[in-house]
């Protein structure tokens, strides 16, 4: 049966490994006498981690980061972060003699003259893409299951910083080879910065060490890419994981699981085997992709030159939403006012992106203010059981998707034989209306699913078995859930909106009104979990679980569902 592990501060006692432990025992003893490592093993060796497939998304991010560090370190031994002009003399014939920067030259050298170099370059790039993708999915998992709630709000913010850092790492790394595509990316960044009011021109001048493109940017991005950003990233990553340990991992509702326990496998041995093995699987998938699929073929693009560009230029996909925002802005938004140039065609998208990211960062605080819920939560919400949050998330995803799609507007137009104007206008409408539609649909779907869950809890599920009763009546047999399955469907909470009541001074402030209104909006449509009495009533009504015959009268069911839906 289950072993219960009680953690209390025990008196520290020096570890005394078994005598005759051989060389392992001797080594352990040597180490412990100098590090007291046994306390760590005692504390964490049997720490419990709950299982769920979605918890692996964060692991994928962690492991791909390890792969990035390993492959990136190899690349630094060959890469030259210099924009000194040189003539290419490597193995790739079509570029022989072409003038290019030392950065591009060394990137080509890695690809064509170092055995396995191309493989490592592609491992690095694929791992980076997987890193950002898995962070994004991990964030969505945390969002939609409410794992960001107290006490994990700060860890959500730390994770958000990691997400931003990952994108920054991606962009700086993408720019290093100094090829035509990445140079165009930098050109766009330069134009973006120049469009900022007051500070734009000088910021660009300082960043590029003079006029664009200059000869400094690759070296500077390299310092950011391999020193500053990774150092911050590792620090925040460590903090992120420390908090996972401090908080203990969340778990989904399930039999035996409560807000005060964690049920799962201990680190040693099961979790270590599964998670450790999973690292190798993630690495294996990356290696396989790098073996088969070319990524970022800089030799096809050639060195950076401000004049040529190919049709269909796009950033790496994770920057797409920012590029798309630039494309979606309606025309004509640039003015001269007070003798200065106001580039609202750049300022507005930048502000929109900052607001979107800011909203993601502070969402936990917004929700806890609206709901007034200051309790700790360790049992995850099923997305359907928090319809408003899930709908907000769906709206956010839809908005992001619109920006993202806009970054490929030209490719969509050429592939599907559409006009570029038509594509942009459709995506503009999608960006504005889509979130509202997604919100509405998602909320209704969630509530529908909750009603379905409730019906299953109270009346069982349709078994597909049609039985003819002695009286000639045909019924479909409803099978009842067992206690364990039922518990998964009823272990959630339903909130009543905050009532607007005068405060201690007898006043109702506008802030209180706002909060009450938002609370109403958040909780107005809700389905309460089935209670014991309802269960008994449903089952005592000729639906004995063991027999499992008879379907409830339709009217009765609707009464019950309706009666528990507060409007």
């Amino acid at each position: 049966m289950t072993s219960t592990i009680e953690r209390t501060e025990a008196a520290e006692s020096p570890a005394t490994p078994k005598k005759g432990g051989g060389i392992t025992g001797a080594a352990a003893n040597y180490l412990d006498e100098r590090t007291s490592i046994s306390a760590v093993v005692k504390e964490f060796g049997r720490k419990i981690f709950p299982d769920h497939w979605s918890f692996m998304l964060g692991e994928v991010a962690l492991y791909s980061f390890v792969v990035i560090i390993l492959s990136g370190t190899f690349l630094t031994f060959f890469f030259q972060a210099s924009m000194v002009e040189t003539h290419y003399e490597g193995a790739f014939v079509p570029l022989k003699g072409v003038e290019m920067s030392a950065a591009m030259d060394s990137a080509l050298h890695i690809s064509f003259d170092v055995r396995g170099g191309l493989l490592v370059r592609q491992i690095h790039h694929w791992a980076a893409l997987l890193f950002i993708a898995s962070i994004g999915l991990h964030m969505l998992r945390v969002f939609f299951t409410g794992a960001f709630r107290k006490p994990r709000e700060l860890n959500w913010m730390i994770g958000f910083v990691l997400f931003v850092l990952a994108m920054a790492e991606g962009f700086t790394g993408y720019s290093l080879p100094d090829d035509l595509l990445s140079g165009n990316g930098l050109r766009i960044i330069d134009g973006l910065i120049k469009g900022m009011p007051v500070i734009g021109t000088w910021t660009s001048f300082l960043l590029f060490g003079g006029e664009f493109p200059g000869t400094a940017i690759v070296g500077r991005l390299y310092t950011l890419h391999i020193l500053l950003l990774p150092a911050i990233l590792v620090a925040f990553l460590a903090l992120h994981l420390v908090f996972v340990v401090v908080h203990k991992h969340t778990q989904f509702a399930g039999p035996g699981r409560t807000e005060k326990n964690v049920i799962g496998y201990p680190i040693l041995p099961v979790y270590a085997a599964k998670a450790g093995g999973f690292f190798f699987l993630v690495f294996g998938v990356i290696a396989l992709m790098a073996s088969f699929f070319t990524i970022n073929p800089i030799w096809n693009y050639g060195p950076y030159d401000p004049s040529p560009v190919s049709a269909g230029t796009q950033p790496d996909w994770y920057i797409g939403f920012a590029d798309g925002a630039l494309r979606l802005i309606p025309p004509g938004l640039e003015f001269v006012w007070l003798n200065h140039t106001w580039s609202f065609n750049i300022i507005i998208p930048v502000i929109a992106l900052v607001l979107l990211l800011l909203f993601v960062a502070i969402y936990p605080f917004v929700e806890s203010w609206v709901t007034g819920d200051k309790r700790e939560h360790h049992i995850l919400d099923r997305p359907r059981n928090a319809p408003t949050r899930t709908a907000i998330g769906a709206a956010g995803v839809t908005f992001y998707a619109a920006l993202w799609a806009a970054a490929s507007s030209d490719l969509m137009a050429t592939h599907f034989q559409l006009s570029i104007e038509g594509v942009i206008h459709v995506v503009q409408a999608w960006a504005v209306l889509g979130p509202f539609i997604a919100y509405f649909i998602t909320k209704r779907v969630c509530i529908g699913l909750m009603k379905k869950d409730r019906e299953i809890v109270l009346h069982g599920y349709e078994s597909g078995r049609i039985v003819r009763l002695p009286g000639g009546e045909y019924i479909e047999v409803h099978e009842q859930l067992d206690d364990y399955e039922r518990w998964k469907l009823v272990d959630y909470e339903s909130f009543e909106p905050i009532m607007l009541r005068p405060n201690s001074n007898g006043k109702i402030t506008p802030v209180m009104r706002l909060r009450s209104a938002m609370s109403n909006w958040f909780f107005e449509d809700r389905i309460a979990p089935a209670s014991r009495a309802e269960l008994d009533a449903a089952h005592g009504h000729g639906h004995a679980p063991a027999v499992g015959t008879g379907s409830p009268a339709r009217g009765e069911l609707e009464d019950q569902t309706g009666g528990n839906t507060h409007h």
């Binding site: 289950t2 009680e6 064509f112 055995r115 396995g116 191309l118 134009g191 120049k194 469009g195 500070i199 021109t201 300082l206 060490g209 493109p213 035996g256 409560t258 807000e259 005060k260 326990n261 496998y265 099961v270 979790y271 093995g277 190798f280 699987l281 690495f283 294996g284 396989l288 088969f292 401000p306 004049s307 040529p308 230029t313 590029d323 630039l326 025309p331 938004l333 640039e334 001269v336 003798n339 140039t341 065609n345 709901t371 007034g372 819920d373 200051k374 507007s409 030209d410 009823v490 272990d491 959630y492 909470e493 339903s494 909130f495 009543e496 009532m499 609370s519 979990p529 209670s531 269960l535």
Partner: protein, 356 residues
Amino acid sequence: MAHDEVSGIDSAASDSSAVETSHRTSAGTAVIGSDVENPGEPPHRARVTDLDPAKAKHADRTVYTLFYLSIAGSIFALAAYMAFPIEDGDPVALRLNTLFIGLGSALALFGIGLAAVHWGKALMVDKEGIDVRHPVRGTDETRARAVEIFDQADKESGFGRRTLIRNSLIGAIIAFPLPGLVLFRGLGPQDQDPVELLSHTMWKKGSRLTLDPSGIPVRASDITIGSVFHIIPEGLNEREDLLEQKAKAAVLLMRLDPADLNISPEREGWSYDGIVAYSKICTHVGCPVALYEQQTHHLLCPCHQSTFDVVNEAKVIFGPAKRPLPQLPIEVDSEGYLVAQSDFHEPVGPSFWERS
């Protein structure tokens, strides 16, 4: 709920987060949970490997076979490193080198990963354990002691009492990074004014229009109606700051039927017999506006799809850009070559704060 006292060993079955039907949280929100009882952990179900020694034996064999396969993969990758040299520059050799080192490594990694996971899932004891959670906040005693320590430190140092010391400390802490920040001014050159640089290009009166990238000058007679040329100023290729100058001076040269061009009065004489030259640098964020639609006389920026109408002095007809592409006034010199009349009359490229 979560703030309740943790009562030592927690029996999973008896405790439930949803025992109460209604619970008031701090903000006066009523929370309704189900009063259905948590049934406790379901009975443990034995796996086939627990019940059938043959299956366990089979799983055992699978695990070590996978580990051996992993070793084989590593050896294969090593062999591939030696067997597929790339030094002769043959692209096929490079492909094989990448593919086989990669495949060997992938096999090595998958072998370990699959074996470890299978070992964990099929053979290791699969009974779940329970950890008890405690509220994240420190206990009252711990918190009281922390407050006490801070009070004591305050008393012993006089941090709160000696306000002059405290405030001067805060001031000094704020001031000391400033010199460090100022050092970053050095990121840009001291002797250049960005606004001045952004306002001018290499073009000047008499500069010949030459082909990009060869630098061969072009005659007006070389330009047929409907054609488009990528143009750089003469002497650009000899410049030390080639890319910086090119990023401003790149020009597109097109010849249209003069009757098609709508020329405003102040630009009379900027073109030559239907030949017009416009900056190639987009007025949005600076990508090269490299795509010319000959039929419609539209220039399209591939980055953000700003579209400029050459017939109407490169005015924006679609996309995020606001300003038309600046026009380079051109004429023909005595030898019939196209030359610039002057620099552009306005800064080229993306907008900036001090531009107007």
